[in-house]
């Protein structure tokens, strides 16, 4: 029996990891995790849609939206997906320096988006729309706040890969790490596209 069931995974290095699908465990796990995230944002978006007009006489989010401003910050976030792709493509070609530039650009664009969100929130607060004002405002701030936290975590991950690459620990062979960070980043962007359309653009 010992020889009949010849080792299927005698590969020498541990890096060569046989998996039943051919996809690495880490990448598969990220896809599965993102599947779960869909339901998280699904629940948050549904709750907002239920509550968006419930203001009890006080302002609701749709009263105070500044669509041109949010359009600009949405555009910034979308561009960060492009720079993310460029960062991965550079690392895959082995151009680590260029990859770092694009990674940093992605993180900075994300940072600009977060800055825009902070500005937007403080403006809304000045105009009388606080977290505790009414169900509509609670649902709005929770939904966009959860998205903002996701962007912030993405920035943390991007900066970690940036520092890793600067220390010479992220090479062409490990480009999958950056790819997985990218999967998360693109997902967060896609969520924003849905969110911007449903929350900001669809009239009340």
């Amino acid at each position: 029996m010992a020889t009949a069931t010849a080792p299927a995974v005698a590969t020498g290095g541990h890096e060569e990891h046989r998996t039943a699908t051919g996809m690495s465990n880490t990448k598969l796990a990220m896809w599965i995790f993102l599947g779960s995230e869909c339901l998280l944002f699904g629940g948050l978006i549904s709750s907002y849609l239920l509550y968006k007009t419930r203001g009890s006489g006080l302002p609701v989010p749709t009263d105070v939206f500044d669509i041109p401003f949010t359009s600009v910050s949405s555009f910034v976030l979308l561009m960060s997906s492009m720079t993310m792709v460029l960062a991965l493509s550079a690392l895959r070609r082995g151009d680590e320096a260029l990859s770092r530039v694009w990674t940093l650009a992605t993180a900075m664009l994300g940072g600009v988006f977060i800055g825009g969100q902070v500005y937007e929130f403080t403006t809304f607060l000045r105009e009388g729309l606080g977290f505790t004002t009414n169900p509509a405002s609670s649902a709005f701030f929770t939904l966009t706040g959860f998205h903002g936290v996701h962007v912030a975590l993405g920035i943390t991950m991007l900066m970690s890969t940036f520092v890793m690459s600067s220390k010479g620990k992220l090479h062409q062979e490990q480009s999958e790490t950056l790819e997985i960070v990218g999967l998360y980043w693109h997902f967060v962007d896609v969520v924003w596209i849905v969110l911007f359309t449903v929350v900001y653009l669809v009239p009340a």
Binding site: M1, A2, T5, A6, P7, A8, V9, A10, T11, G12, G13, H14, E15, H17, R18, T19, A20, T21, M23, S24, N25, T26, L28, A29, I32, F33, G35, S36, E37, L39, L40, G42, G43, L44, S47, L50, Y51, R54, G55, S56, F131, T132, T133, N134, P135, S137, S138, A139, T142, M157, S160, T161, V163, M164, K167, K169, Q174, T177, I180, V181
Partner: protein, 660 residues
């Protein structure tokens, strides 16, 4: 490059830190002391810890049940007043669902899935340890409300709003409920991602989808249900927490909020949760019944597809919990229909188990008794359940003891009895000795009779109109007899549990004088029985090549020219020896424990004083980075061989099977 395990926490720093992580904790080397249990990443040890902790919380939840039954034993009971009664039944429900049935199923999932698919460990061993430690810290957090939160949550496990708000529930119990379940949810989510990846990616060569054992299949469906159900309850729990702690308006009807939102979000999670509890025992039945009927499972593909069908349809029935909540006739009709439909795949499975036994040479050992008993109890619970799909009937029975009877037949009759049977079945594999059969049968009969005495009369009480969650009743209502019987039944169940614990102690004491059970005491069918008992640390000497369903059985039996089953190999010939030495195992780590310790601190901080959350947040975040810096495999670990044939340090790998 240690980030492969934890995509969300990518860390960077000096290479020297990889060897001595932050200089705080030296890399544990493994061994047998308590440190080894705290730092283990071995799926088998983690499974055992889940099992032990689940049995502890079974005692906790069972004691709460006995308090409830003592209070209701006679009219105008004086054991508990109304407020503590509310707390006790709420914590009883939470404990039994989240701290007993789910983790005991997780114990078997952890222990068995890698063995059944022919893997060395799960896909992410340290994440597996993280799931366990987060779960246990969440469990302790949830129960600590008795000491520091001013009593338990008092809103029922479903915790409907606005009853859950600060106005009606002013103690911290509901805060502990919300944050405790959030912590437990993180544990289950991590575990779901890990186990799904494991089953999809780590199956042994040749193990195609329709050669995967049914237990693993059902656990896979369960993990998908968790993966998609948990984020929904997470949303609801965050709303509840924000409402109570930060004054948001999600469930405040005065400002226009809709309390039904909570009910929808809760039951979109809550109904799949029912299948999260029963699908693992469906898998257990499908392993035990064929083994003791000496026949292959009847209609393997039907059982698997029914499980998947339940997994999908389980999402379309949640509002049958809300027929009296005012959701409108169209919704009621739609959810009535979908509830009737979901009975079909469930019935298919019951028929398959019966057909498996039909014509088999049935051996009524203790595991088989438990499985047959549990299938029978489940049939009763299922039939009383499907009657609730008729909305008028449901309207009559909502919030009566009839509902309590129904779901206890499912949760205890199928869930708990099925899992206890699984303990008897897999005990020799896990601990290397059998449990006493005679005591096992006493346990089974006491538990089965006890549960029917407890929950059977509740059908009658419900039809008589006894309201559930009521803390007492007057003598003139005619409830006294059946309540007394139910209380006797509850203490019978408690006695059966004592017999089980005595059996565990006695079997261990007697084990040295009894014959060694060997790898395969039940003449079973799936791969875990190919390994010595108890399972060696590295699982498989060589990863087996899979040629069909019930691979292990086909290595023992073949067919002669007339098509009769003949033995072709003894267990000793076919089983693995467990003596491989050159196996590279994932190294233990303390970081999952540290990450988990931070979480309840954050919880206490949110409730009492935000400054408390700072050390918790620092511990969790810091440990995540330290974890990321630590290689999955300790480059200094010895594994009998040299690193000549491959590059060290290793990237990761629980399933590498090197021949160095």
């Amino acid at each position: 490059m240690a980030i492969v395990e934890k995509p969300l926490s990518i860390g960077t720093s000096e290479p020297v830190l990889a060897d001595r992580p932050l200089g705080v904790l030296t890399r544990p080397k493994g061994g047998n002391g308590w440190r080894d249990w705290l730092s283990t990443v071995d799926h088998k040890k983690i499974g055992i810890m889940y099992g032990v902790a689940a049995m502890f919380f079974f005692v906790v939840g069972g004691s709460e049940a006995l308090l409830i039954r003592s209070q209701l034993a006679v009219p105008n009971g004086q054991v508990l007043s109304a407020d503590p009664y509310n707390q006790v039944y709420t914590m009883h429900g939470l404990t039994m669902v989240f701290l007993f049935v789910m983790p005991l199923a997780a114990a078997f999932a952890n222990y068995l899935i890698p063995l059944q698919i022919g893997a060395r460990d799960v896909a992410f061993p340290r994440l597996n340890a993280l799931s366990f430690w987060i779960w246990i810290s969440g469990a302790i957090f949830l129960n600590s409300t008795w000491l520091v939160g001013g009593g338990g949550a008092d809103c029922g496990w479903f915790c409907y709003s606005p009853n859950s708000g600060v106005v009606f529930s002013p103690s911290h119990g509901v805060d502990f409920y919300a944050i405790g379940l959030l912590i437990l949810g993180i544990a289950s989510l991590v575990s779901a991602v890990n186990l799904i990846t494991t089953v999809i990616n780590m199956r042994a060569p040749g193990m195609s989808w329709f050669r995967v054992p049914v237990f693993t299949w059902m656990m896979l469906v369960t993990q998908f249900l968790l993966l998609f159900a948990l984020p929904v309850i997470t949303v609801a729990l965050f709303f509840l927490m924000f409402d109570r702690l930060f004054g948001s308006q999600f469930f405040n009807p005065d400002t226009g909020a809709d309390p039904l939102l909570w009910q929808h979000l809760f039951w979109i999670f809550g109904h799949p949760e029912v299948y999260i509890v029963v699908l693992p025992v469906f898998g257990i039945f499908s392993e035990i019944i064929p083994t003791f009927s000496r026949k292959p499972l009847f209609g393997y593909s039907f059982v698997v597809f029914s499980g998947i069908a339940i997994g999908f349809m389980g999402w379309g029935v949640w509002a049958h919990h809300m027929f009296v909540s005012g959701i409108g006739p169209v919704s009621v009709a739609a959810f009535s229909l979908s509830t009737m439909f979901i009975a079909v795949p469930t019935g298919v499975k019951i028929l398959n188990w019966i057909a498996t036994m039909w014509g088999g040479k049935i051996w009524f050992a203790t595991p088989m008794l438990f499985s047959v008993g549990a299938v029978t109890m489940f049939t009763i619970g299922g039939v009383s359940g499907v009657t609730h799909s008729l909305a008028p009937v449901d309207t009559q029975q909502t919030d009566t003891y009839y509902i309590v009877a129904h779901f206890h037949y499912v949760m205890f009759g199928a869930g708990a009895l099925g899992l206890l049977g699984a303990c008897y079945f897999w005990w020799p594999k896990i601990f290397g000795h059998m449990l006493n059969e005679r005591l096992g049968k006493v346990h089974f009969w006491l538990a089965t009779i006890g549960m029917n005495l407890t929950f059977g009369p509740m059908h009658i009480l419900g039809l008589q109109g006894m309201s559930r969650r009521i803390d007492t009743y007057s003598s003139g209502f005619g409830f006294a007899l059946w309540n007394a019987v139910a209380t006797i039944g509850a203490f019978t169940i408690a006695t059966s549990l004592l017999v089980f614990f005595y059996n565990i102690w006695k079997s261990k004491k007697d084990a040295p004088n009894l014959p060694d059970p060997g790898p395969d005491p039940w003449d079973a069918r799936s791969l875990e029985w190919m390994l010595p008992s108890p399972t060696p640390e590295h699982n498989f000497d060589e990863v087996p090549e899979i040629n069909g369903l019930d691979e292990w059985w086909h290595r023992k039996y073949g067919y002669d020219d007339d098509g009769n089953v003949v033995r072709i190999a003894t267990v000793e010939e076919a089983a693995q020896k467990g003596d491989a030495t050159n196996v590279h195992l994932p190294s233990p780590s303390f970081w999952p424990l540290v990450v988990a310790i931070g979480m309840p601190l954050i919880g206490y901080g949110l409730i009492f004083n935000l400054w408390l959350a700072v050390p918790g947040g620092l511990a969790t975040a810091g440990a995540l980075f330290a974890w990321a810096l630590e290689p999955a495999d300790d480059p200094d670990a010895h594994h009998g061989g040299s690193h000549d044939d491959h590059e060290a340090p290793a990237l990761t790998g629980a399933d590498t099977n090197e021949e160095s």
